[in-house]
Amino acid sequence: MFPELLKTEFLANRFLMLLGLLLNVFFILLMGVFDDRAVDVFIGATSIVFYIHVIVMVVSHSDQKITRLYAQLPVTTQQIFWASWLVILTWLAAQTLIWFAYGLWFDAEFEAAQISLLLQRALGVLVFLAVISIAFDLWGCRPRLWFWLYVAFLAGLISLPIIFDVNSDRSGQTLSDLLLATFSMSTGTGLAVLSVLFVGLLLADLAVFKRNDSYLY
C-alpha cells in the first residue's frame, strides 16, 4: 500500500509545492533588479521560503489530523514516516536543482564544480529539519520527559558554544568553531559528514516515530 500512500501524500501537498516553485520564479525575477546576482543570495532567500513552506505543510497536516487518518488506513507507521519524508526530499531535490540552474545562468562566478556546495546547503537544510522532526515525534512518546530532555540538549548545544565563546579568549577551539569548521570543510568531507549526520538523525527519527504512543494528531 506504500505507492498509494505516497501518491496521496504528493497529491495532498502538490499545491504547496507548486506555490514554492512559483515563488522561486518570483525570486529569480526579483534578483534581476539587483546588481548582485550571487547564487548565495538566491539560496538564502529561497531557503527561508522553503522552511516556511515546510512549516505550513506541518501545520496543515496537524490541523487536518492527517497522521490520524493514515494511522487508520492499512499502512504501517514506517510507511507513513517515509511517505512524509519522501515528499520533503523530492521537494528539496527540486529546490537544489533550481539553485543549480540559477547559478549556471545568473551567477557569473558560479562553476559546475560548486554543485557539491549546493548539495551541502541542501543537506544542511535536511539536518535541521530532521532535528526539528525528532522533537515533534518525541512529543508523541511517553514519558514526555524524553521530549524535554531533547529540548534541553538542543538548547545546550546552541547556548554552550556562545557561553564558551564569550568566556574564551582563545580562538579556533570552541564548539561553535568546530561546527563552523564542519560547514567550511573541503566539500567532499563536508558532504560526507552532513550525509552521515542526516542519515543518523533520520533513522533516530524513524525509531522515535515508530514508538509514538498515539497517532491522533
Binding site: M1, Q64, R68, Q72, P74
Partner: protein, 295 residues
C-alpha cells in the same frame, strides 16, 4: 470464527487504566458498548484500531492478529471514531476515491448509494461540511468496503433524526448479510435497542457486564408492591424512590426478588417490563455506586 477477539487488552495513563479487557464478537453479532463519560470506550476503540498503542494484550480481527508491521487486517475494519479526519480541501468524492485505493474490496457503487441514502452531497469540499455531514462521510468510508468488523464510536453524534434512522437501517442490512460483526459505542441504548443483541458495559476501564440483551430484558423487571413496613434488603433488587406503604424496586432477577417478597408475606406484586434503555441506566447508576452485576 470470531471476527473480533480481545485478550487482556490494557492501556495505562496517569490516573486512568483501561482493562484488561477480554471480549469476543462472532460473525453476525451486534454488540452495544455502553459506558458513562470517561469509561474508556473511545480509548478501547483507539487501541483496537491502532491509533493509540496498547500496553498489553492481543487483538485479532477476522482471524488476523493485529500488529504494527502487518496491517492488512485494517482492510477488514470499518471504523468511526469521535473525529474522522479527511482532507478538508478535497471534495467528498475525492476523499472517497483516495480511500478506495487502500481497500481492494471497495465498492464505489455502494459508496454512492450510501451517500445518497444519507443525503450527502459528495461534490462539496469537506471543509464546508457540518459535523453531521462529516459523520455521514465517515459512515460511507466505514461501510463501502463491506468490512468484517465495524467499530462505531458514538456515530450518531451530530446526525439528524432521519440520518440516524438511515444509519441504523444500513447497519441492519450489514448485519443481516451475515458477514459482519458490530461493536457500537453509545450513551443511548434506545438508539440500538432493536439492533444490538448484546450489551457490554464498561465502567472505569473494566467490562462490568457482558450479557445477551434478551436475557437482561427477560430478567430485569420493575416490581411495585404495598407493605406497611419497609422491607430491608431484597435480593437482586435496588430500591426506587417511593413512599410507604407503596414501595418499588428494580430487580435484575425478578423471580428471585418476587419469591423473597412472597416469603415476607407480600403477594400482591405488580411486575412490569423494563426497556433496555431503562436497564442500562440502572446498571450505569449502580456502576457509579460501585455495584457489580450478575450476568
Amino acid at each position: 470464527m470470531a471476527y473480533l477477539e480481545i485478550n487482556g487488552l490494557a492501556k495505562h495513563y496517569t490516573g486512568y487504566a483501561l482493562g484488561p479487557v477480554n471480549l469476543q464478537l462472532d460473525c453476525g453479532c451486534a454488540a452495544a458498548l455502553i459506558g458513562a463519560n470517561g469509561a474508556g470506550k473511545s480509548t478501547l476503540f483507539r487501541c483496537l484500531v491502532g491509533s493509540v498503542r496498547r500496553d498489553g494484550g492481543t487483538v485479532s480481527v477476522a482471524g488476523q492478529q493485529t500488529d504494527e508491521q502487518h496491517v492488512l487486517w485494517r482492510q477488514q475494519l470499518g471504523y468511526i471514531g469521535d473525529f474522522t479526519p479527511f482532507f478538508n480541501d478535497w471534495t467528498g468524492h475525492k476523499n472517497l476515491r483516495i480511500r478506495s485505493q487502500f481497500y481492494p474490496a471497495w465498492q464505489s457503487h455502494k459508496a454512492e448509494s450510501i451517500a445518497e441514502r444519507l443525503q450527502l452531497d459528495l461534490n462539496k469540499k469537506v471543509k464546508t461540511y457540518s459535523t453531521g455531514q462529516r459523520t455521514k462521510l465517515s459512515i460511507v468510508c466505514a461501510l463501502a468496503h463491506s468490512p468484517a468488523l465495524l467499530l462505531f464510536d458514538e456515530p450518531s453524534n451530530g446526525l439528524d433524526p432521519v440520518a440516524r434512522q438511515t444509519l441504523l437501517e444500513l447497519l441492519f442490512e450489514e448485519i443481516e448479510a451475515g458477514e459482519t460483526a458490530l461493536l457500537y459505542a453509545t450513551h443511548h441504548v434506545s438508539e440500538v435497542e432493536g439492533l444490538a443483541d448484546r450489551l457490554i458495559f464498561l465502567n472505569n476501564g473494566t467490562v462490568t457486564l457482558d450479557a445477551i440483551k434478551d436475557d437482561l430484558t427477560e430478567k430485569w423487571r420493575h416490581l411495585s408492591f404495598r407493605s406497611e413496613q419497609a422491607i430491608g434488603s431484597i435480593p437482586y433488587a435496588t430500591p426506587q424512590k417511593s413512599e410507604l406503604p407503596y414501595q418499588q424496586v428494580i430487580s435484575e432477577d425478578y423471580e428471585a426478588s418476587a419469591a423473597f417478597l412472597q416469603q415476607q408475606g407480600i403477594h400482591d406484586i405488580e411486575i412490569s417490563r423494563l426497556s433496555a434503555e431503562q436497564i442500562a441506566v440502572e446498571i450505569l447508576r449502580n456502576n457509579a455506586n460501585g455495584a457489580n452485576h450478575v450476568s
